[in-house]
Subunit: 684 residues, 2 copies
């Protein structure tokens, strides 16, 4: 164990910390002239970098705006984000401490005698939490939280070894195992560092503090680059849990050091020198060239993170073989592998993608991290293309399969996000802590980073992707200052008023996202109707914009009854209900007394099509629109019926009942109760 | 490692082989007078014992007849059984040898230098194969097979240790681990011995040879009873894979030694001294009192074998708490846990029962061994009750979920028996060998023992359970000789002619099983119609029977369209097709060119109900009735359609196609091709 005081950036650059040469970190100014003209004083570029920093990425059509440029006001996400920063992030800090995750660092510094705690990927819990803090601080300083996080970062970097190596598990007796092929496969050393770099970048972009960022650079430049990579003089790398790829490329975007990008490319290519059994290449989603993949398979989070890294690589290199593979994989995602909630990963066994159309509801895995990975991947594809189909997936995952992962009070988390649930099986679906606690801080970093997903800029204007009460204060890519205010009750109401205020009158295109689910959307500009709104596309409003211009949009939010492709066996003869971006579900406790959830059907026989009654309940589950619809229930509970019987023998569907649907994200926030998204339907 | 020559029974009884007292084995004559008057010369009682020997079991309402009492002639099972004994049993012997299973014994005798081969339960492969031989020989001597098996048995008993312990895995360095709690949990020592005893009993009942039987007794009396059991002076037992329970009780039925029954009772009760984590009691289906169980759960084969043992225990003791628990568990089986094929075990993960109604088709486990366990359990419940509902489950499992486990040529086996299959997933569903080769010899012993399942006797007469061309040559329980001949083309045709020939005119009840699936069954006796045939019951024909009496029965075999309870999500909106005892399926390669299996629906719109065309194809799959029905297929393949879409958007079901159904048991005997049992249905 190495005791080592923190090196400041200056000290570090001036010292050779290992036998291997450590290159000086290129300063941001190496990037050359910026197109930015407005905000951002010289030397404070870190403040201008978004969730991703794509301004210099040659193949990014859209560019991120910084998180601080958007203030989300009271509303749907405002409430969620307040809970996140007031409850979730602080309580997770305490849980990480209580479960020895912080202590793992202290013990290496000789400040604790406690044993190592947690699985091999425990360091990443701390780093992901740090990333959540970083994003939270980008939305405004919180001195106490910052001080605590600064202290944690100090403890982390204090135990980095002179070589740059940093890990609290592969120490002592286990130090000899570092980067052995099997440890690369299962040991998560690079996964941990990937999360450290992501956390460091977010913290740097919040505070300008490079302490953790420099530690990440030291690992990469000091330990990794000199010793690992292609070529006979270096050892091979296997990315047993992809994550380092996207981290290295974001590091490249931050440092400008092309070796970081090239290392990511090398890892995405796979090094034949590390051999896996055939299933290993499937499960780990690494080890063979990413560009040869045609199917999402194996561990879902691994696959999603690998896709993120590969898209990042395309954004920097424009490599068409990557774009082709990414298109094929995305086609597989949306045609055969994604839940209607935007969740992915059908199988509990291996936390994995299943076969095409294998989308069981009750046994669905749909890990929160995998849905987040799906959102992150689509965010990168959206940047590469400007195609609204990716924004549709982002919104679907965000509002449903991700949002379900955190309880409304911000202290309980789903690891699995199934689309059907029967508590009689004994499962506790929400828990405050998991020994593998990847999902909770992942959810926290996602909600904290959310302002960064609302808008993008492009050469010709501004894209709006998400809708909620909010203020944008940023500028166009030509430097023209621009404010945009959204006033809305989205997602409960489709009406949104958007006030566009450029610093001076300017011609540009305002790309207004028309969600794929919307119907009969009406758009007006300064009171005059605008045609051309097409679901699943951006409506391009190009004109000379001036202060006080107002766009009024009303997205059609008629509740929609959705069926799945008949190849999805588990959804056959069943329907899901969606209103706006929200997928709905039935919870037993909202249904009439005596009606068993698994006995009901949605009854479309009466009116020939659906007829939902919408009711806003402000005191229910934080305030939600409840959907009511006529259902049918047999005279006898299905639980009492025969398992097999002649077809049609019990065809009569006795009495009518009123079904009460709630948004899926809000499930399991009251007593344990049966739940389902896909409900049997009786046809007209 | 102990080298030891075989002990003859006489030598063994005369020697104290361990510090513990080994009791002399009570001779069969201790059982007192037999009710048997006819067959069987004195001293040859072993010839009169069936699959189970229940003649002395106080709570058995029905009693087994010996396997040799029924000769199955040419027909459905005749062909299967010929393949079994001519192909499967000999080829499995070679495979067991080639994979080191026999050699594991030889090496302990110093006759081989090869290493131990196979998992901890490898000895059971040999024993289960021996049991298959035992049953095969009960249907007629095969000198060559017998000589080979005698030799194998010699090699087995040669390495039994003086203590009675016998196992080829826990030897040498591993000998110190014997019967440690964790080894009891995972090591299968008693599972192996259970199969040894079952094999020994079958071989004894075939040949009168006690060599292996005495080895089993030596293990129990010499090693187990003195050292393990209740009481502070003995170590506790945990039955990590139930099997020993039913073996001990069959041993008790063979030896009359009540300690064998009591030991089984003790194991079924569970010993609190061995603690498992909570899930352990679920997975292993042991360790807590069997009588506290209310739900089939955990590893399916373990659960089924435990239920067999518990039913055996009830048959001997009449313990009502057992009967009550067994009834609850059986209710769970047929109401919520059994596939329409009679297979059980929904989950691949843990080879386990799922939640109630969790019966996925494509990912179904349905292990061949579990279906066999289901049949064995129901065979015991049938003996306890005489209730035809158990015979219905036996027939369903036998003709479908068991029969599917062996290829038609007798050399390829299914471990899993899913009800839907897509070979594009890469699975090879039938294989000649599995390193865990439990299923193949289990299937072989089942088919070899089949004659023993056709009839039972009761105080008041004879029960016929199964139908096929066959001859019974046995006697009533009062000793009256009785021959029964069946002439039929069952299961392809419901007409069966049954000639009843008592040695002398006698009054008794002939219980004719009317299968639960039958409709409009007609029964005549000597040409005169008999009323009262009720599906799912035995038709009791009590009269003075005389030579030449003829029962003609015609079971209605109209192909039936079956739906599942709507709580079975995976079957919702879908139907299965059954004709007689056979469940049918669709294989892609039987459907019209260009029609994708997963695009078709069974179309019941035209005629309001099903209208199958039946065709016997004598050269297809060994001769089967093919069912043809109109189906519908959309203009566009589902594979090209959107994953989610507005309900009803693609409602039109384009063109008609002719669907060709084959019996499920015959699937996967040609090229790899998609298959499904549950097909979407279009309603009238």
């Amino acid at each position: 164990m190495t005791k080592k005081t923190k090196l400041t950036r200056r000290e570090f650059v001036g010292r050779a910390v290992s036998a291997a040469a450590v290159s000086a970190v290129p300063a941001r100014s190496l990037f050359g002239a910026s197109w930015r003209g407005g905000a951002g004083s010289p030397g404070a570029d870190w403040k201008e970098e978004g969730v991703l920093f794509l301004d210099k990425s040659p193949y990014a059509k859209l560019h991120n705006i910084p998180v601080h440029a958007v203030t989300i006001a009271a509303g749907f996400w405002g409430a969620r984000r307040e809970t996140n920063v007031e409850k979730s992030i602080p309580s997770m800090e305490k849980l990480l401490e209580a479960n020895g995750r912080m202590n793992n660092f202290l013990r290496l510094a000789g400040k604790s005698d406690a044993a190592q705690h947690g699985p091999v990927y425990s360091d990443s819990d701390v780093y992901k939490w740090t990333e959540a803090v970083g994003f939270a601080l980008q939305s405004g300083d919180r001195p106490e939280l910052r001080a605590e996080t600064d202290a944690i970062i100090k403890e982390v970097v204090a135990v980095q070894e002179p070589s740059g190596y940093l890990n609290t598990y592969y120490v002592g007796d286990k130090a000899k195992d570092r980067m052995l092929p099997d440890v690369q496969r299962w040991g998560h050393e690079l996964y941990n560092i990937g999360h450290m770099i992501q956390g460091a970048v977010a913290y740097y972009r919040a505070t300008g503090d490079r302490t953790l960022l420099d530690a990440g650079i030291r690992f990469v430049d000091g330990f990794l680059l000199p010793n690992f990579g292609p070529g006979a003089d270096k050892k091979p790398i296997l990315s047993g849990h992809p994550e380092i790829e996207m981290a290295l490329i974001e590091l490249y975007r931050t440092t400008g050091d092309k070796r970081h990008l090239d290392l990511a490319g090398y890892i995405l290519q796979g090094d034949e020198r590390i051999k896996l059994p055939p299933h290993g290449y499937v499960y780990h989603f690494c080890g063979i060239p990413f560009t040869t993949r045609t199917h999402l398979e194996g561990h879902a989070v691994r696959a999603m993170y690998a896709c993120c890294g590969a898209t990042d690589y395309y954004l920097e290199t424009g490599d068409q073989t990557y774009l082709k593979a990414l298109n094929v994989l995305w086609g597989d995602l949306v045609a055969a592998q994604m839940y209607v909630t935007g969740g992915v990963g059908a199988r509990s066994s291996g936390e994995a993608f299943g076969d095409s159309y294998e989308l069981p509801n009750f046994t669905a895995y749909g890990e929160s991290c995998a849905a987040i990975g799906n959102m992150m991947w689509n965010w990168r594809l959206l940047a590469a293309s400007g195609d609204a189909k990716y924004a549709d997936v982002i919104e679907r995952a965000l509002y449903n399969g991700i949002n379900s992962g955190m309880s409304l009070d911000g202290t309980m988390y789903c690891y699995r996000n199934p689309l059907g649930f029967d508590p009689s099986g004994g499962d506790q679906i929400r828990n405050p802590w998991y020994d593998t606690t990847c999902c909770p801080p992942n959810l926290e970093r996602t909600f904290a980073s959310l302002p960064g997903y609302f808008y993008s800029t492009s050469k010709d204007g501004l894209y709006v992707h998400l809708y909620d009460n909010s203020q944008l204060d940023w500028h166009l890519e030509d430097g023209t200052g621009l404010k945009v205010a959204q006033k809305t009750n989205y997602p409960w109401d489709g009406a949104t008023e958007i006030t566009v205020t450029p610093a001076k009158p300017a011609e540009f295109t305002f790309y207004l996202r028309v969600p794929g689910w919307s119907d009969g959307t009406q758009v007006s500009l300064n009171g005059k109707a605008v045609s051309g709104a097409t679901p699943g596309q951006y409506l391009a409003l190009r004109r000379q914009w001036a202060a006080g211009d107002v766009i009024r949009v009303k997205f059609g939010m008629t509740p929609e009854v959705i069926e799945a492709n008949p190849r999805v066996v588990d959804d056959y003869g069943r329907v899901a209900v969606q209103r706006g971006p929200l997928v709905y579900c039935l919870e037993q406790l909202d249904q009439p007394d005596g009606v068993q959830l698994f006995d009901v059907s949605l009854d479309l026989r009466q009116k020939g099509s659906s007829a939902f009654h919408e009711e806003f309940h402000k005191d229910l589950l934080g305030g939600i629109v409840v959907l009511k619809h006529t259902g049918a229930v047999g005279e006898k509970s299905n639980s009492l019926g025969a398992l097999y019987r002649p077809y049609g023998a019990e065809a009569s569907k006795g009495r009518q009942v009123e079904l009460n649907f709630i948004p899926y994200y809000a499930w399991a926030n009251r007593a344990g109760t049966p739940m389902q998204v896909w409900t049997p339907v009786l046809k007209a």
